[in-house]
Each structure stands twice: as structure tokens, then as C-alpha cells.
């Protein structure tokens, strides 16, 4: 990025976090480089994560939305107001439905995004269920564009997991993690069962900001993370601090849930 004088970077948010980490390891301050814009998407990410990325890299981060089955990136994207993603409606017709009943929902209500392609010739898609949960933003955008907007994807209809009867979304855990000061961690949720007890453990890679030479400071952080996550999801999840580069990385999308239930031998 320094050699080429890159000004815009386009990737997934989790990949960009790897870039931030790597830059830090190499002693490169991304804020000093020419990069000014990040076009990030293809996986759900939260507003606090955007702020972290913007601060760490000194860029303006735009959310984009697309899916391989339709066209890849380019179905919808944010404008400079950052209040939802404008759907390119001359090519894609969006609807929001209740994923359980399949019935259309009014603007402003969250449901599953369904897309119909209007200009695709070889392989059109009619009312394709994306599995992505969002809502149509009611009203015009302050930027002046009349294309309707969808809210940023909060989660997929199938990425929820259930621990001891409580529905948990990774995005809730992410918001809790980011609310704890000084953390921009890689994390993974590992689901296991011991006997008839289900356990969920949030594994968090220790960042330089989190680490201390004093065990008491780390113990306090662990306790705080456990409490914040518990408050956010409504059920106790264990927290484990792990060494950097421990968790499964992908070049593409973050793999947030590792479900080992029904695979671990019960004693």
C-alpha cells in the first residue's frame, strides 16, 4: 500500500482488520499512508467496528452489499451520509419479507431481503431469498439520491445460534466486545457440549491495547468482557483470551461460529 500509494481499499471488514494488525506488526502507521477510503462489505459488521477501522487507518469506510448469486458486489452501497445502502433499483428490485411466513413487510421493519434482478439476461433471479436480515429505510436520503436504501445487514437469517434456549447473534457479541475500551479483537464463538450442558465460549485474541504485564489487569479485562457480553446477549458465555493468530482466519469472510456440539464425545 505504501509502495503503490494506494488510496482506496476494497475487501471484507475482517480482512481489513488483518491488514491493520499486520501494519502494526510491521510498524507501519496506516494513517500516514495515502489510503483515504475503504469500500468494505460481504459480511455483517457493526457501526462501532466501522469507527474502530476509521480511527485505526484514518480512512472513511463505506459499506457495500452484494451477493455472488446475483452479481457479486454492487447490489447496494452507502453514500457519504452513511445512513443505509442505496439499492441500485434500476437493476435490482428489493423486497423485505418475514422469513417465517414469507409475507412482505412494510418499510422500516426488519426481515429477510428478497431480490429480483431486472436487467440480468442469462440467469435472472426472481424473488431470490438472500438470507440477509435488513429493513428498507423509510423516507428520502439527505444525500438527495432517490434510490431506496436498506439498513446495513445486521445478521443472516441463519447465523443465529441458540445457547441454553437463548437466541444469540454474533453481531450482539461484537458490539459488546467493541464497547470495552481499547479492543479491536479477532474473536470466535466456540459451541461445545459437556454431558447435557451446552457451553459457548467466546475466544478473543489479545491485542496490544488489551495486553498487560500485570495479571490483575488481564483478569479485570476478562471479567469486564464476560459481563458486557452477558448483558448484551442475556445468557452467560465464557470468555477466553487466546494468543494472536490462534483463531481460524479466512482470506474472505470471518468465520465467527465454530459449532462442535454433537461432535465432542460426552463423558
Amino acid at each position: 500500500m505504501r509502495d503503490f500509494g494506494t488510496t482506496v481499499i476494497c475487501c471484507t471488514p475482517s480482512f481489513f482488520l488483518q491488514v491493520v494488525d499486520r501494519a502494526q506488526e510491521l510498524g507501519v502507521d496506516l494513517r500516514q499512508l495515502r489510503v483515504r477510503v475503504g469500500v468494505l462489505g460481504a459480511e455483517p459488521w457493526s457501526e462501532p467496528m466501522r469507527l474502530r477501522i476509521q480511527q485505526a487507518a484514518g480512512i472513511e469506510a463505506f459499506d457495500i452489499y452484494g451477493l455472488a448469486e446475483i452479481v457479486g458486489p454492487g447490489v447496494a452501497g452507502e453514500c457519504s451520509v452513511h445512513q443505509g445502502l442505496h439499492v441500485l433499483e434500476d437493476h435490482f428490485f428489493p423486497e423485505i419479507i418475514d422469513p417465517a411466513s414469507g409475507r412482505p413487510l412494510p418499510d422500516g421493519e426488519e426481515g429477510e431481503l428478497v431480490l429480483t434482478t431486472l436487467s440480468k439476461q442469462a440467469m435472472p433471479m426472481l424473488r431470490y431469498r438472500t438470507g440477509d436480515m435488513t429493513a428498507i429505510c423509510p423516507g428520502p436520503c439527505p444525500c438527495g439520491r432517490t434510490l431506496r436504501r436498506i439498513r446495513r445487514i445486521s445478521h443472516r437469517s441463519d447465523d443465529l445460534f441458540i445457547v441454553r434456549g437463548v437466541n444469540v447473534y454474533p453481531s450482539q457479541i461484537e458490539s459488546a466486545l467493541l464497547a470495552v475500551k481499547g479492543t479491536l479483537p479477532h474473536y470466535q464463538i466456540v459451541l461445545t457440549e459437556q454431558g447435557d450442558q451446552e457451553r459457548a465460549e467466546v475466544q478473543i485474541e489479545v491485542t496490544p491495547e488489551m495486553f498487560s504485564d500485570r495479571i490483575g489487569v488481564l483478569a479485570e479485562l476478562e471479567e469486564k468482557l464476560t459481563r458486557k457480553i452477558g448483558q448484551a446477549v442475556g445468557v452467560h458465555l465464557d470468555v477466553r483470551l487466546v494468543e494472536p493468530r490462534t483463531l481460524v482466519r479466512s482470506e474472505g469472510k470471518a468465520r465467527r461460529i465454530l459449532d462442535q456440539r454433537h461432535k465432542v464425545k460426552t463423558s
Partner: protein
Amino acid sequence: MKIHQLSVFIENRPGHLIAPCRLLAEAGINIVALSLAETQKYGILRLIVRDWEKAKEVLGANGFRASVTEVLAVQVADRPGGLVEVLNPIVAAELNVEYMYAFATKLGDQAVLVFRFEDPDAALQALKTSSVAFVDTVELFSRLDRV
């Protein structure tokens, strides 16, 4: 005087302690003092090495979370009551010892202890007038070489 200590995050599981030690070994870096603090799930390996900058670089490049802390190296008479003599002025100055450990090697009839204070500069200032004898990096390593 102040010396530099490396702290490394390691998980409390078999095989995790050897990994950073192996890296330092391959880089030809000798560990002159260490302490290991542990909880049930993880621990902190604290090390005193001569070339701490190189050690930090090697560990960091291999994915370890390593940080540098300034600690104080203090000479202690190697006999009953030696430690009490050092702790007395520390207590009198109302300083809290965060943690401490000892060098394995003696310097003459003196043991060397590593003290971690919240604020090493303030502790140094507070203890300057006392009988506590500090060892600086240069002196420490030149004397270790002679042992």
C-alpha cells in the same frame, strides 16, 4: 536503575511455554531472569534478556503478543534479613510492589531482585535517598558476563 522487561502472553496449555523460548533460542538470545504468572486459562511470561529489542521483534514477528515494561533491578544482601532491608524503605515510601522475582545468578555476595512498581520513575525518585542499591543495565550485564 530501570531495566527493560519483556512480557509475553501465553495460554496455559501444554506446549505453549516452549514456543516463545524456542524462538529466543533460535535467535541466540539468552534469558537471564524470568518469572511466570498464571491463571487457569493463560499466563504471562516475564523475561529479562540483554537484547530486548531484538527479542521483542522476533516474538512479535512470529505472532506473539509481547510488551516492554520498565522494572527496577535492586541488589539484596544474600543472607537472612537481606530482603527486609530492601523492603523497609519501599514500605516507608508507601510504594506498592506489583510483582517481583529474582535473578538466578548472584553478583558476588549480592542477590539481584527485579521489582515492578506502578510508576518506576516515581519509585526510583522515592528510593534514591534510601539504602537501596539499584543496578543499571550496563552494570548488570557486564557483571553477569564476569560470573
